[in-house]
Amino acid sequence: MNVQIKQKIGFGVLFAATLLVVVPIVAIIGLIITKGWSAISWEFLFSMPKDGMRAGGVFPAIVGTFYLVSGAILFSLPIGVMAAIYLNEYAKDNALTRLINLAIINLAGVSSVVYGLFGLSLFVVFFKFGVSIISGSLTLGIMTLPVIITTTREALRAVPKSFRQVSFSLGATRWQTVRHSVLPFALPGILTGAILSIGRAAGETAPILFTVAAFYVPDLPKSPFDQTMALPYHLYIISTQIPNIREDYRYGTALVLVGLVLIVNISATIVRARYRRKKW
């Protein structure tokens, strides 16, 4: 076969594969926007649900998701970053370290409903936190840990070895080296990972199903030990449990969820782009 033709076919196949990825995403977002846009209003975003959740707004679900995600990141970001620093900068390459690495990789692949069950038995039952924001946050936090550890390690590894060498050769201790010659230059990467895992935590239903999510609560949560509504779970129940609900209500809720995650992801892209100019 002619090289030119081969080239064209190869290009065509790759392009088709790309389309296959992009088209469904665009289609889903398009569908959600066209069907849900009419529901979006100040009232929808900032008021409590009414009439058995057939009217009013999704405000408590937005607030709940905000609390859950903040709690999750507050827990997983420091622990994940510290673990990554330990693994990348301190740990010797021995059997134990390799085992830990393997565990982290596998944890990232565990299905989210398993995290939900784990959170139920550990936080809700064993620690007696009950079905509460704190149980849900911790469960989401544990779920995002592997992602945070992996992206942080990636970011640490991208910092040239020579920075560490110079720092040591100037008499810095290992911690000073990490603190002054590695972390500052890994920060954009770490933040990107953190923001992406916020997006993931915001969208998950299974981990909060048994640990925090409430069908309906008349007030906003007041303490970490309260239950709360949350966007993904709210979407699930209004789609399956409530008969004759207006269609734009469901799609409006989906739009809020997708919109929030999208905003978070776009800000991650911006953070990355801003720092990408700094090459070394």
Partner: protein
């Protein structure tokens, strides 16, 4: 803590004394019983073919080999009479005294000022006005001040390679290092930049003890007063540069400098 050897005190004429140094990377022996005395305010050149252990020896003088896993060192390196391989030695203080310049100029992606101030800041040695004047002094010492004084806040990454290498030297001078270990500091530079760095070295020699590893025999002959020739981990010959290059005592040295091998 200062460990003094018998009959040797601070008045010793040797800045650095390497005694029976053996180094192993795992089972591979990279340095074989190396002993040599380096004089203060002298440039000592280390020459030898690739893989003979020059960089390894250099890294022994500020214990940078400690960072490599599975390295074991036997023997001693005395700096100002103090064995840096002694258990109680203060590594941080020692490394401040013995600075290293690397093959590729490697400033941090920070401003020119921040690069020079880096060591001072992490060791909390100076701040405010004192910091500024130390930075100025250091940049003057490497003859960069006039060129750069108006853009100290510009990124160090935008400098030329030669300026970057000078900046890396200034970073050490700011810490008041006394020994400068230079591992092929000019190999990334063009001939003119190389010449200018060599002039700088001659200038710095007045205040510092310099050890330079180089592949360039002309450079060794030009800049150094003493030269060591290494082969397969062994220090074959060490003496005055003029002697090494004009009438080497060892056949292997002669073969190397006349280009018969290596």
């Amino acid at each position: 803590m200062i460990i003094l050897r018998d009959g040797l005190d601070k008045r010793t004429m040797h800045k650095i004394e390497i005694r029976n140094l053996n180094l192993f990377y795992g089972k591979f022996q990279a340095l074989m019983d190396v002993s040599m005395n380096l004089k203060p305010n002298t440039i000592t050149a280390m020459i030898g073919s690739s893989g003979c252990g020059k960089s390894t020896l250099l890294r022994c003088i500020n214990r940078m080999n400690d960072l490599i896993e599975d390295v074991s060192v036997k023997g001693s390196v005395f700096i100002d009479g103090e064995d840096i391989y002694h258990t109680y030695v203060d590594l941080v203080k020692m490394r401040r005294k013995v600075g290293m310049v690397f093959q590729r100029p490697n400033p941090f992606p920070l401003s020119i000022f921040e690069n020079v101030a880096f060591g001072l800041k992490i060791h909390h040695l100076a701040k405010g006005k004192a910091l500024e004047s130390r930075v100025e002094e250091s940049l003057k010492a490497v003859l960069l001040w006039e060129e750069l004084k108006d853009r100290l806040n510009a990124s160090a990454l935008d400098l030329s390679l030669e300026q970057k290498q000078r900046l890396c030297i200034a970073r050490l001078i700011a810490l008041k290092s006394e020994v400068l270990l230079m591992d092929e500091p000019c190999s990334a530079l063009d001939p003119i930049a190389t010449q200018r760095i060599e002039e700088l070295m001659a200038e710095l020699k007045k205040n510092y003890t310099i050890v330079i590893v180089t592949h360039n025999m002309q450079q060794a002959a030009r800049v150094s007063q003493e030269t060591g020739f290494m082969l397969l981990g062994e220090l074959v010959e060490f003496g005055l540069t003029t002697d090494i290059f004009t009438h080497p005592r060892d056949k292997r040295t002669e073969d190397y400098i006349t280009g018969r091998f290596g």
